[in-house]
């Protein structure tokens, strides 16, 4: 086997990647231009087919077992609704949603911090409700609306108000926990759009930050809540 040593910045083929062309955008100084992003996406090609997970098992005896004929047993080729798009994907029975998102759909904004439903870094919304995607079997969310961090910004790069609140307040430090916090906060704000600081803290209390920047995180999320109320996000 001759490996191709091309590192692909795996962006979501959604096209919702908010890499703004606005020269004033901070994204510019990060060094990734839209052209490079497109180039990477082209190089990736049909990403969801060349899965990184369970490749051995695709060709092993697991296939027969996974397509067993007992009542209720599941097929592996399924369709997911991710960030408003239908995605066809080959999913093993024991595969978690976090792994499918990260390794098959290229949505690496969802982080794995503990893989044990403890830290919240993998939080995504299922039908608007925050879940730990490390502890959800992908097979069980076939009919659910899945929203990840990559699905928040508009096609023109306009940030979601909660993202905007963080930018304004320089919320978070290393930011590994950030996408999980954002998703948990957005899910909570759908139920309680006008929370007190303490209520919002409870709303995102299923998320850990090890920079323990909790105070500034709450400043940023409270600002995000305020911007959300002002925005006409349907």
């Amino acid at each position: 086997m001759v490996p191709v040593f091309a590192i692909q910045f795996w962006n979501s083929p959604e096209g919702a990647v908010p890499m703004s062309d606005n020269p004033g955008s901070p994204a510019k100084s990060k060094g990734l231009t839209r052209r490079e992003v497109i180039k990477a996406a082209v190089a990736v090609g049909g990403v969801s087919a060349s899965a990184y997970l369970f490749r051995g098992y695709i060709f092993g005896n697991q296939v027969r077992r996974a397509f067993g004929s007992a009542p209720g047993s599941m097929g592996r080729l399924i369709t997911l609704n991710v960030n408003g798009r239908r995605r066809h994907v080959d999913v093993m029975p024991q595969e978690t949603l976090a792994m499918t998102l990260r390794y098959k759909l290229g949505l690496t904004g969802t982080k794995l911090g503990c893989d044990r439903a403890e830290c919240g870094s993998c939080t995504v919304l299922l039908d608007d409700v925050p879940h730990y995607s490390c502890s959800v079997l992908t097979q069980t969310v076939r009919n659910r609306k899945i929203l990840t961090i990559e699905g928040l910004a508009g096609p023109d790069g306009t940030l979601h108000p909660v993202q905007q609140g963080i930018v304004e307040q320089q919320g978070f430090q290393c930011a590994f926990c950030m996408s999980g916090f954002i998703m948990a906060a957005i899910g909570f704000l759908k139920v309680n759009p006008n929370p007190t600081r303490e209520e919002l803290a409870r709303g995102v209390s299923g998320n850990l930050c090890r920079c323990t920047d909790y105070h500034k995180i709450l400043d940023a999320l409270m600002r995000g809540a305020e911007l959300s109320r002002g925005a006409s996000h349907a």
């Binding site: 098992y57 024991q94 925050p130 079997l137 299923g206």
Partner: protein, 341 residues
């Protein structure tokens, strides 16, 4: 001569392969369970299950996900003032349900104290009451009594047992980690258990079992059984309730001790009371003697203090959990004399 052992390594994480079944009816689920017997694993919200699977300690061939069975979801108000909660109802739905909030706030408070928002959004009431113990030796895969071995690692002179039992220990000193289970016992809930022979109702008090009854299980559920619903009778509807959970962290932590009390007070005196403590034994610990002793007594500090002492009279601490005695005593006192909010 040194002891030489051949051993395989610890490898945690990465769930082993299994076959996944997603039946849409209870009958279908029961038929898969019958087909696979001890090789089957029932999956509710999955919060407890995935730990066992990811730790590669439990290795079922078939996992039966109950998530697609509609008849296992929802809350129904019963004629006469009770409620029936289907087992796969999420903790969040229990917490938010108007009838539960109105008549059985005790249960809403207990369910809301569990774990974290995301877990309450996914974890089910059936799973929360039926979850396995969190004894760290047992959960680490040690071959202890509960795991079918012949030792309790927590109850040795070196055992780390701060979180363990002070009541009802029998070889095993693990405790029930459930927050909602004591509320179920306090509210005299009936647990509906179904298997291929039909459905039976089990009193919550009998549903949870100790190591003296069966050291390998926390509930009466056996292979092939499914908890389908929990029925809360009207007996304690709108009673005076008290729930308090003491844990090291205010979120995502199991109770060190929690207490659920339902009281009917009139003329300043306790007319009826159910008092249940958890985190102190392998099952929610109902304080029958205390209930009897305080019935007819004023709901005041003095009664509370006496009740607290009585509650811990039979408690036996381990090396590291003596503090659970004053903690339980003080919580019982508070539960007795707390004025309804």
């Amino acid at each position: 001569m040194a002891i030489v052992r051949e051993s395989s390594a610890i490898i945690r994480d990465v769930m082993p392969a299994f076959e996944l079944f997603q039946p849409t009816s209870i009958e279908e689920a029961l038929s898969v369970l019958a087909q696979y017997g001890t090789d089957a694993w029932v999956l509710a919200g999955g919060i407890d299950s995935f730990d066992w699977l990811k730790d590669r300690i439990k290795r079922p061939k078939a996992v039966v996900d109950l998530g697609r069975i509609r008849e296992l979801r929802g809350v129904r108000e019963l004629a006469g003032g009770g409620v029936e909660i289907r087992a796969m109802t999420t903790l969040t739905d229990v917490v938010l349900h108007p009838a539960i909030r109105k008549s059985f706030k005790l249960l809403a408070d207990a369910a809301e104290s569990a774990a974290s928002p995301q877990i309450r959004n996914q974890g089910t009431i059936g799973g929360n009451v039926s979850q396995d113990t969190r004894c760290w030796y047992y959960r680490s895969g040690f071959p202890c009594y509960r795991a079918g071995g012949n030792i309790c690692y927590a109850d040795t002179p070196y055992g780390m047992n701060r979180e363990h039992a002070i009541l009802g220990a029998a070889r095993c000193v693990a405790v029930s980690p459930s927050d909602s289970a004591p509320a179920m016992v306090a509210l005299e809930a009936k647990m509906l258990v179904r298997n291929s022979n039909g459905e039976r109702a089990v009193n919550a008090e009998d549903y949870f079992i100790g190591p003296g009854f069966d050291i390998t299980r926390m509930t009466v559920l056996k292979q092939g059984d499914i908890l389908t619903a929990i029925r809360i009778p009207s007996a304690w509807a709108n009673a005076s309730f008290y729930f308090e959970k003491i844990s090291d962290r205010p979120v995502w932590d199991f109770p060190i001790v929690n207490i659920a009390a339902a009281k009917v007070i009139s003329g300043g005196k306790i007319r009826r009371i159910r008092l249940v403590v958890n985190g102190v034994a392998a099952h929610p610990w109902r304080l029958r003697q205390v209930e009897e002793a305080v019935t007819g007594q004023p709901a005041d500090e003095q009664t509370g203090a006496r009740a607290g002492e009585l509650a811990i009279a039979d408690a036996v601490p381990l090396q590291h959990n003596g503090f659970k005695l004053p903690l339980m005593r003080n919580l019982v006192k508070r539960a007795i004399c707390a004025t309804p909010a």
